[in-house]
């Protein structure tokens, strides 16, 4: 069975072949199996669907928005949802629906950037500590423990207070609070593979420590780190929204959902929708990451299922 001359009708057979003929086929088979498991897990599928929808909305925000998100119209302030303003207007007469649509960009930006900073940082520190052991391990893990001694929101708040409010600083603060659990996880995974024969074989071939860590240890830790960071995204989004709500994250007039909620707070007794709508958006996004992360864990990391 060669993969070059593969007719589409036997794609299924190729994917289900009991013994893969090439690394590529093996990888594709693993993906296929993963997809089948995901397909039989409706909650995870729902989470993935919401996330895809969110990405689609973020990408096509200018097309979906019906109003200018900064345009104020004081004659039309605090309007409830209607045909003109699908989700109503805020205290400055801005269209909530359009702001919500553009706000998805900020949420995804924060979540992915924070994950992009925290995951490699945690991965490198965790695998280095686990593989090298000894004093390096003791010192790095003590550092992790100290960071873990603070609830992540409190730590992020303290960092933001020190760095000053703003969305970039919020991302840095969230990342600084998010890497330690990942480092601890990566270290635990590293300890399980460190003693394995294939690592010994690579070492005997004369591979450097850096090469072993980057090429052989890190890939083994990736699945569980990906699962963890997906689940963490839910927490990151809540923390970012919390910072925005307190006025320490994205600043007005940014349509960040937490900041929108914060303005809505003053009018919540009379115009509940200003606060209710961005809150729902935060809830659904966070829920989607949790559902998808749970499903991903069942697929990638069945030991912890």
């Amino acid at each position: 069975m060669s993969d070059a001359s593969l007719p589409t009708s036997s794609l299924g057979a190729w994917l289900r072949a009991p013994v893969p003929a090439s690394p590529f086929q093996a990888r594709m088979q693993a993906l296929w199996l993963g997809w089948r498991r995901l397909r039989s897990n409706p909650p995870a599928l729902a989470g993935a669907a919401i996330l895809l929808l969110l990405v689609a909305v973020a990408v096509s925000a200018p097309l979906l928005a019906t109003h200018d998100i900064y345009a104020q119209d004081l004659t039309a302030r605090l309007r409830p949802p209607s045909a003109a303003h699908w989700l109503g207007t805020d205290d400055l007469g801005r269209d909530i629906y359009s702001r919500l649509v553009f706000g998805s960009r900020i949420t995804l930006y924060i979540a992915f950037l924070a994950a992009l900073i925290a995951a490699p940082l945690g991965l490198v520190i965790g695998t280095t500590a686990g593989y090298l052991g000894g004093w390096t391990d003791t010192i790095l893990m003590r550092l992790v423990d100290i960071f873990l001694s603070f609830p992540s929101l409190i730590l992020a708040l303290a960092f933001v207070a020190a760095l000053g409010p703003g969305i970039e600083n919020a991302i840095i603060a969230i990342s600084l609070a998010a890497w330690p659990p990942i480092a601890r996880l990566a270290r635990a995974e590293t300890l399980t593979v460190r003693k394995s024969d294939y690592i010994a074989a690579v070492r005997l071939q004369g591979a450097s420590r850096l090469r072993i860590i980057l090429h052989h240890v890190v890939p083994m830790c990736l699945p569980s780190v990906i699962v963890r960071i997906t689940l963490n995204m839910a927490g990151i989004i809540l923390t970012a929204a919390g910072l925005g709500f307190l006025g320490l994250g994205a600043q007005p007039p940014s349509p960040e959902w937490g900041a929108m909620l914060s303005t809505g707070r003053q009018f919540v007794m009379t115009s509940w929708w200003i606060a209710a709508i961005p809150g729902c958006a935060i809830l659904f996004t966070s829920l989607a990451f949790n559902l998808f992360g749970d499903g991903l864990r069942d697929i990638l990391d069945p030991r912890h299922g």
Partner: protein, 356 residues
């Protein structure tokens, strides 16, 4: 095992809860470990304090102080010294429990914290009672009836607890239950009408009013605390029920569960008498951690409910750039976290006969 089991949580325990081999020789290791962790906490909070782009001297003197006055204040604050000397002074101050003066209130930070803390303790305690009281039975029942509608309900309910921004839930709760239905008291700990009728003993208003037999005020306090505590408890419930469920599933797959059923025990009796006994210790650890997480949740919840506690104090300090207060609050939370982890660890050793 605890690490793997704690995976669904945002994280598992902190520093001092690392596995310890045995009682003998452990005491010294424990003391060293705590000392190192506390030192690290101080170093981290010190660094956070120094990262501040604001000039603390200008913050005190204002922008149009003379050069001499500026230098004098700088020297008085010790800012002209090398960093490590500044850190030494900071450590000395912390050990003497001197956190400086809060810019926002003009009082010593420690005094401020002592004043606001009971409100948070009361809120968090009622919250954890709600979260534990519902979370543990739900988690056990979900595991006992795995893959039934009850299990799905508990899991979805738990996931919602993980995913809901509690400040938003607080706002919505106020709109619905306070403004529209009038079922609960509004923001604050108590109606202002009653504020001066309470003889503060513990500053825990439920306790104070109950001890004084002021049941009318007690009811008022309860009506104020029930909503924010339920919202905090919802988060704790999510965490506790989820962890309890996963611990129970692990136990229900054990052979002794079959043995108990062979003996003729009913499923519920097997679950509660045999399996639950084996998760109690782990669940207590989780409850201790959940209590620590409540402090985190309290920051936002207190802001929404105008609750005069630690969280709102921290928020105000953050917004005012009051670094003395921010650093002290952060350090305090860190210490409480470490202490709760330690407590969980000690309880584990005390309650599980296998570790004796």
């Amino acid at each position: 095992m605890a690490e793997a089991a704690a995976t669904p949580a945002r994280r598992s325990g902190g520093g001092a809860a690392a596995a310890l081999p045995s009682w003998s020789g452990t005491a010294l290791r424990l003391v060293v470990s705590i000392a190192v962790t506390l030192f690290g906490l101080m170093a981290l909070t010190f660094l956070i304090g120094r990262l501040l782009p604001l000039d603390p001297v200008a913050a005190i003197l204002g922008d149009n102080a003379t050069q001499e006055a500026y230098e004098a204040m700088r020297a008085q604050l010790g800012l002209d010294q090398p960093l490590w000397i500044q850190f030494g002074r900071y450590v000395g101050d912390v050990l003497r429990l001197d956190f400086g003066t809060a810019l926002t209130t003009g009082k010593p930070v420690l005094e401020d914290i002592a004043r606001v803390f009971p409100a948070t303790i009361e809120l968090a305690t009622v919250g954890i009672l709600i979260g534990t009281g519902l979370g543990i039975p739900l988690g056990v029942l979900a595991a006992a009836h795995r893959d039934t509608p009850l299990d799905y309900f508990v899991r979805i309910f738990g996931l919602l607890g993980y995913s809901t921004p509690n400040f938003w839930l607080g706002l919505m709760g106020l709109v619905l239950f306070y403004a529209n239905l009038g079922w609960v008291g509004g923001p604050g700990r108590i109606d202002t009408a009653y504020q001066w009728d309470i003889e503060p003993v513990t500053d825990l208003l439920l306790l104070d009013t109950a001890m004084a037999g002021q049941w009318e005020i007690f009811r008022n306090v309860l009506s104020h605390i029930i909503l924010p505590a339920s919202i905090l408890g919802f988060g704790a419930l999510a965490y506790i029920s989820r962890m309890t469920r996963s611990f129970m599933l692990e136990q229900l797959a054990q052979e002794y569960v079959i043995a108990a059923r062979v003996k003729g025990l009913s499923w519920m009796r097997t679950v509660w008498v045999h399996a639950f006994r084996n998760v109690v210790v782990q669940v207590i650890t989780v409850v201790a951690l959940a209590y620590a997480f409540l402090l985190e949740g309290a920051v936002l919840t207190e802001t929404v409910f105008a609750w005069p506690g630690f969280g709102r104090y921290l928020t105000n300090a953050l917004l005012a750039g009051d670094m003395n207060a921010v650093v002290a609050c952060t350090l305090l939370v860190g210490i409480i976290f470490v202490a709760l982890n330690l407590l969980a660890d000690l309880l584990y050793r005390l309650l599980d006969p296998r570790t004796r």
